[in-house]
Every structure is written in structure tokens, then in C-alpha cells.
Symmetry: C2
Subunit: 196 residues, 2 copies
């Protein structure tokens, strides 16, 4: 039986989902063969959808960033902007090791910063900026903190967590210090984001 168009769409979605998991775990060391095997399709099917490893990784990155941006957009309507901001900050740090592994694999496969996927990080930064601004308006984050340095702290804690293989407790305590710094400065009414 010939594969139908619905089969092809299903395969494509499954390949992407499996690839996100495989490269998020293995980085550059992971292979397209492993993706095909775990998705239950032949390697030829993977290459029909994504002619190169780089094309596959770019699609994975786009999907990954689009999901994060969607989550940020949902949180932008939250009734508790402080909780939304600190919760999303923590979510991004928890997500970072996988995302950095996918980016490493993408770069090693010849992807570079001028590729299409690279607009997505800017979109995410902007969406994160909206949550920050709302948290500041609500008095949950000091008014004098700018997106530049808050984003730098997000990138910093994320990279330290991945590089030092921080366990969950240390990561949470490091975040707690940064959150206190964001909450306790001038312009913030609440003193600690305990409930984020």
C-alpha cells in the first residue's frame, strides 16, 4: 500500500518529536539513524522529510522555540504577573540543558547564527521581556532592572546549570538568589518570590 498524505504528516510529526528528545539528550553525539529507529521509520523516510541532519535540527529548534514562545504568550495574560515571570524564568533554566544540546548539534552540523532558526531566540527574548515588564508593573520585580541584564542572568544560570551539571537543589538555590536580587531591589514591593 502506498503511504497516504496523512501517513506522511504523521511520520513527519513523529520524527520531529523523537529528534527533539534524541538530540536534546545526546547533542552532537546523537545520530539521525537513532532518530529513524526510535521513530519506527526507515532512514530514507527521515531524509525524504529532512534532506540533511542540519535541516532536521533546524526544524527541531524552530519547533522547540515556538513552543517556548507559545508558553510565554499564554503566561502574558496571567493574573499574577510575578508568579508568571519567575515561573517562566525557572522553566527556561530547567529546559536549558536540552536546548543547548540541540543547538550544539545544529552548530556542529553546519548551522550558523544567520540561519532561519536563529530568529526564534530573539522572539523568545522578546516574549520573556513582556513577562518581565508585566512583573515590574505589578511591583514583583524591581523597576530598575532592564531586559538586557535580566536576560544575561537567564543565559548565565542556564549555561552554568548545563556546564556544571548542577543538580536540581543547587539550581533551585542559585535561582533563589537571583530571584531575591530581582525582587528585593528598589521598586519591588514584594520581598521574595516564594510562590513562583
Amino acid at each position: 500500500m502506498e503511504p497516504t498524505r496523512a501517513d506522511a504528516r504523521g511520520n513527519r510529526a513523529r520524527i520531529l518529536e523523537v529528534a527533539e528528545e534524541v538530540f536534546g539528550r545526546g547533542g552532537s553525539a546523537a545520530s539521525t539513524e537513532e532518530v529513524a529507529r526510535l521513530a519506527g521509520v526507515g532512514i530514507a523516510t527521515v531524509f525524504r522529510h529532512y534532506p540533511t541532519k542540519r535541516a532536521l535540527l533546524e526544524a527541531v529548534l524552530v519547533k522547540h522555540f515556538d513552543r517556548l514562545c507559545g508558553q510565554a504568550d499564554d503566561l502574558a495574560g496571567s493574573a499574577d504577573p510575578g508568579r508568571a515571570f519567575f515561573g517562566f524564568f525557572r522553566h527556561l533554566v530547567d529546559d536549558a540543558a536540552g536546548k543547548l544540546a540541540i543547538i550544539e548539534a545544529f552548530t556542529d552540523a553546519g548551522g550558523d547564527a544567520r540561519d532561519k532558526a536563529d530568529h526564534r531566540p530573539l522572539d523568545l527574548r522578546a516574549a520573556f521581556g513582556v513577562l518581565l515588564a508585566r512583573a515590574q508593573e505589578a511591583g514583583a520585580v524591581r523597576a530598575d532592572a532592564r531586559l538586557e541584564e535580566v536576560y544575561a542572568l537567564l543565559v548565565g544560570v542556564s549555561r552554568a546549570a548545563a556546564h556544571l551539571h548542577l543538580d536540581e537543589q543547587v539550581r533551585a538555590r542559585a535561582l533563589g538568589i537571583v530571584f531575591d536580587g530581582l525582587a528585593c531591589g528598589e521598586g519591588a514591593e514584594k520581598s521574595r518570590p516564594e510562590d513562583a
Copy 2:
């Protein structure tokens, strides 16, 4: 005239000093040839002292870390432990881009984490821990912060500064947030390390 032993020692010191500057600026892209040229010696002289690029980079790293450890040791006797701790934290972040570039060059030249130079980062971490403990005893840093997470924040801000090419102002504001988080939590008496 034959080179004397004092000439050889002078050459060695100059090579090391120039190498630290050249690789701290250029990372893996810098070359031993450039070091020889700027040190005013022949490439054969460099290789007589350091038979491989890796050996040269290891010596540069050892020297770099030893200097930082020496600075930390000097600060451990400071009459203002809060100022000493926050000042050294900032100094390490300012120093990070150069140090990371040298480490990158060392790794690309075949150096790895089990090499001799790698004990030095542990020595530095320990020296940083002494300054942290003294600042906590003095009430300048919250008592509940452990070295693990404070060191993770140091690594994080350092890597973010290097990766995002943060300018001095953004770096200072990011550090200000972390310092406030370290100072304003429970167990700290002073609220802001303004004078660090």
C-alpha cells in the same frame, strides 16, 4: 655569544606573559608564531621552552590561576570581608572572557580536564569559598548561601558575559542584581554591597 641562563629565564617569562595576552585575546585562533613574534624571539626558542602548543597553554593557565589564587589569598586578610568578596567576584567576572579564551585554546590543543592545570580551578574555587565564608561571618552575605550555588552564579555570569559579549554597564547591572540577592536574603545585615 651563547645565551646565558638568565637570558633563558627572561625569555621564558616574556613568552609566558605574551602568550597569556595573545591567547586571552584570540583563543584557539591565536598561534604560537604570533607569540614568538611579539615576544621578540624565534619560534625555535618558544618550542625549546614549551615543546607543544598544549604545553605552552598549560603553563599560561597555571600562571593565570596561580595569580588569581594569590589575589584571593591576599584578600582573605582584608578588614572588610564583604568588600573583599564582592570585589573579587567582580574581578573574576571581568577576567572571565580572557580566561575562557585560553581554556578554549588549551582544549582545542588537546588539553583535557584531567591535566595538571585543571587542579588550579579547584584551588581557585576553594580560595573563593574562603572569601565567601568570611563575608558571611561578617554579615555581608546571607548565611544560607552555599559555595555550590554562589560558584555556579559566578560561572554563570562569567559565561554569559563572554558568550553575549556584554558591555561593561550591562555586566555591572547583572552583577548588581546577583550581589543584591546575595546580600539581601536572610542572615545578611547589610542590604546592598554598594561599596564593593
